[in-house]
Amino acid sequence: MKNCEYQQIDPRTLPTPTPTPTPTPHHEPDGDRPEEPKGKPRRKWHVFPGKNRFYCDGRIMVARQSGVLPLTLGLILITSGLFFIFDCPFLVKHLTSCIPVIGGFLFVFVVITLLQTSFTDPGILPRATPDEAADIEKQIDNTGNTSYRPPPRTKEVVINQQVVKLKYCFTCKMFRPPRTSHCSLCDNCVERFDHHCPWVGNCVGKRNYRFFYTFIVSLSFHTAFIFGCVTTHLALRAQGGKGLVFALQESPGRYPLIMKCFNKPLTAVELVICFFSVWSILGLSGFHTYLVASNLTTNEDIKGSWSGKSGEDVTNPYSQRNIFVNCCSVLCGPMPPSLIDRRGFLPADESVQTAGADIELPDLANKSEINVCTQGTKGLLESATLPPLLSTSCPQGKPPTDPTVNFDPSPEISTSCSGARHVHHSRGRASTPRHTKTRSKKNKRAALQMANPSFDVPVSPSSPDAGPSSKARGHKGDSFSHLQ
């Protein structure tokens, strides 16, 4: 029985049942706790159920797959480094010494905003507690029978005279707020989900959209600036102080320039990188400026939620109808707090509850509900093979696939991704969340889970079994709350 298995697992996975204030926390854990200083108290990030990695004791978080973040950082550092080493001395001598100052300022700005985009919580919604989930289940009618999956659960709300459908997230066990989407790469529901960007190795959502926007805008300025400086540098060298006419007379067209490039391969490298980056990043900035001005997310734009494709008179209910107000509300609005409280301490019973909540999640129910950004996955594969030439990872008018179905655009991607995703799902849900970091253990558990039929049978039909299983969950929640 599932319950019994949990009881067996619990003592082994909880060496320190109560968090103690010995390592100077910033706040007391809520409630009165007996002092049991046996080993280190655990913070909530240890048992975080999503696929994220945490560093610096929970202060920094990134997605499990960091994507091409090292590549992004590397390209920026290398290009800027080459600029400062090879171009700045010449330009300072021949033009002005402001150039390295401006370049330095832009470089610092770009790197800081990139790191903030990558390391900030994008607006992850913590999963529902077992009691909440049980309460929601009770409110939903059970209409399906035992052998089929129930229809996706939806709830309708009216926002500014528009009907918005809220979908039920089977992983997080709650109705997703408007504009929230579940990222399958990170296995989290993210508020105001824009897209999962492999370039920054994180989702872009409510909390880090402004960082992301600032990053791409400052990066466009930075690449344009470097491109301009490098072109100027080469042009000045090509003249060789003999004037433009002599340079032109010497040989047709760009011949002198090409020769100079040949002698300066590194400068040529800079030029090539910047040339291709400028267009793609400028395009991306322009696209996101349009999104900001109309208060849209990439997800909504791709799905055409508010563009009236369905023929009805739909408008974006979140837009304030004024470009300036939209920009201000998106970029300069109040900074919402992180809801996952990763550095808080775990109460003993809560860690048991989170262990209990995971095992009963329906395994296959998630696939049709997943709002993954295909472009992220596709772009990752493209971008891994073709450096900055095509930054199609952040989508620019890619033809949307059917938004209601599985999002794998090409067969080879679908097999690897959905295979990986399936493993990830069963892994993420079946194993104790404490093992988020240890992949080998999770793999073993996944193998056990998939082999063990007792997990599969009650899990897949979620709604018909929702009655007994939710009651079981409810009972479990009650019994744990007794310990409070």
């Binding site: 009691d131 909440e132 309460d135 926002i159 408007p178 504009r179 105001r192 509300s329 609005g333 109040p334």
Partner: protein
């Protein structure tokens, strides 16, 4: 005597009879508002008006936190100019209001809800999804 029941005493000694969840109200968009409809389970425990007043105050506080006013714009622009590094040093307006909310809930629990065997959980502990009202078994029917 029921008045001197602290929250901690209640949590340790009383058994939880039920939990009521007040969900978010999305009719105004994505701003944080909670449904202030009076749940039927609390009818025997607390005055409807009292409860609605608490909810209204909470909703007002959240609206204040998310208000787009001159203060938030100044904070946003300043943050942008400093590459958002001010967020590492400074407490944002939202966080300040959240502290106010936590204090308000604590105060309401101490004065009004605990004596009636109820407990409001700060929504931030539930990811701003619900306001959880825990109903404890009646130990003393007085008060």
């Amino acid at each position: 005597m029921a008045e001197t029941h602290s929250l901690q005493d209640m949590r340790q000694q009383a058994a939880v009879a039920a939990k009521v969840f007040l969900q978010r109200d999305y009719s105004n968009g994505t701003v944080c508002q909670f449904q202030s409809k009076f749940p039927s389970e609390l009818e025997t425990r607390i005055d409807k008006q009292q409860f609605e007043e608490t909810m209204q105050t909470l909703n007002n506080l959240y609206a204040e936190a998310e208000k787009l006013g001159s203060q938030s714009y100044i904070e946003g622009c300043l943050a942008c100019l400093t590459a958002y590094t001010v967020f590492l040093c400074m407490e944002t307006h939202y966080e300040k209001v959240l502290k106010k909310i936590a204090k308000y809930i604590q105060e309401q629990n101490d004065k009004i809800y605990a004596p009636r065997g109820l407990l409001l959980t700060d929504p931030i502990e539930r990811g701003l999804r619900v306001i959880e009202v825990t109903i404890f078994e009646d130990r003393s029917l007085t008060r």
